[in-house]
Amino acid sequence: MDLEKRLHRDAESFAEEVAAFDTKGFLARVLVTLGIPVQDDAPSLGAASPAGRPTAAGRAGAELRAGHDQDKDKGEGGGALRAG
C-alpha cells in the first residue's frame, strides 16, 4: 500500500484511540500527586495509573512539594487549576 495512504489510515486509527482518553481525569491525578489544588468539580481522582501501577510522580511527590513550598514565596508554581 502507498505510504501516504498507510500513514493516513494509521493516523485515523490513532485519532480514534486517543479520543477515548480521559485527559481531564489524568490531569487531575497528576496535579493531586504533585500536591496542587484542583477544583471541586474535577473528575474522579486517584494516585495510581489505570494499570494500578504506583506512579513515579507519586514516589517523588513529597520531595517535589517540599521543593516547591520554597518557590511559592516567589509567586511561581502551584496555583489552582483554572482551565481544562
Partner: protein, 167 residues
C-alpha cells in the same frame, strides 16, 4: 502563568504524544506523568520555564527522555509487564501487534527515523499540522522542515518495504 494552568492547556497533546511513543495507554500515562514531574521540578527556574512555555520541541524531548528513563528501571521492563502491555494493545487496537512480523507504521516511525524526523512525521501526519508549522514547533528554520519531512518519508518507505520483503 502558573504550572497548573500550563498543564491544563498542554495535557492533551502531551498525553497523545506519549501514547504515540509508547503504544500503550498505561505506559503513556506513566511517561506523561514522569514528564510533568520533571517540568514541575524545573518550573521555578525562570529560563527553563520560559523555554518550556515557548518550545514544544523542548517539552517533546522531556517526554521522550521520561519514557526512556522509565524503561531504564529493570523491574519495569520485566516480561509480565511487557505481556500486559501487548495484551492491552491487542484489546484496544493500539499500535503494534506483537504477533506480526511486519512492523506497524508507528513502530516504523520510531525505529527507522531519528528524533527530529519522527517528530516531524508525527506532527504532520498524526496531528495535522503543515510541514512549515511542524518545523517551527520543533525549532527548524527555512527549508529544513521540508527536507526533513521528505527524508523521513523516504526512510520510512525503505524500512517498511524491507520489512515486508523479510516477512
Amino acid at each position: 502563568m502558573g504550572f497548573a494552568v500550563w498543564a491544563a492547556e498542554n495535557t492533551n497533546w502531551i498525553l497523545r504524544e506519549s501514547y504515540f511513543l509508547t503504544g500503550s495507554r498505561s505506559l503513556a500515562e506513566d511517561a506523561a506523568q514522569n514528564a510533568f514531574e520533571k517540568i514541575f521540578k524545573a518550573w521555578p527556574d525562570d529560563e527553563k520555564r520560559n523555554t518550556i512555555q515557548q518550545s514544544r520541541g523542548y517539552v517533546s524531548a522531556i517526554i521522550r527522555n521520561a519514557h526512556s528513563d522509565y524503561h531504564k528501571v529493570p523491574s519495569r521492563s520485566n516480561r509480565n509487564e511487557q505481556a500486559l502491555d501487548a495484551t492491552e494493545n491487542i484489546l484496544t487496537g493500539g499500535a503494534g501487534d506483537p504477533e506480526s512480523l511486519v512492523p506497524s507504521v508507528r513502530e516504523a516511525i520510531l525505529n527507522a527515523l531519528d528524533e527530529t524526523e519522527s517528530q516531524m512525521v508525527y506532527l504532520v501526519h498524526y496531528e495535522g499540522h503543515s510541514i512549515g508549522k511542524a518545523g517551527a514547533m520543533i525549532g527548524l528554520e527555512a527549508q529544513q522542515p521540508y527536507r526533513v519531512h521528505a527524508r523521513a518519508l523516504k526512510k520510512l518507505k525503505i524500512y517498511l518495504e524491507g520489512s515486508e520483503e523479510e516477512g
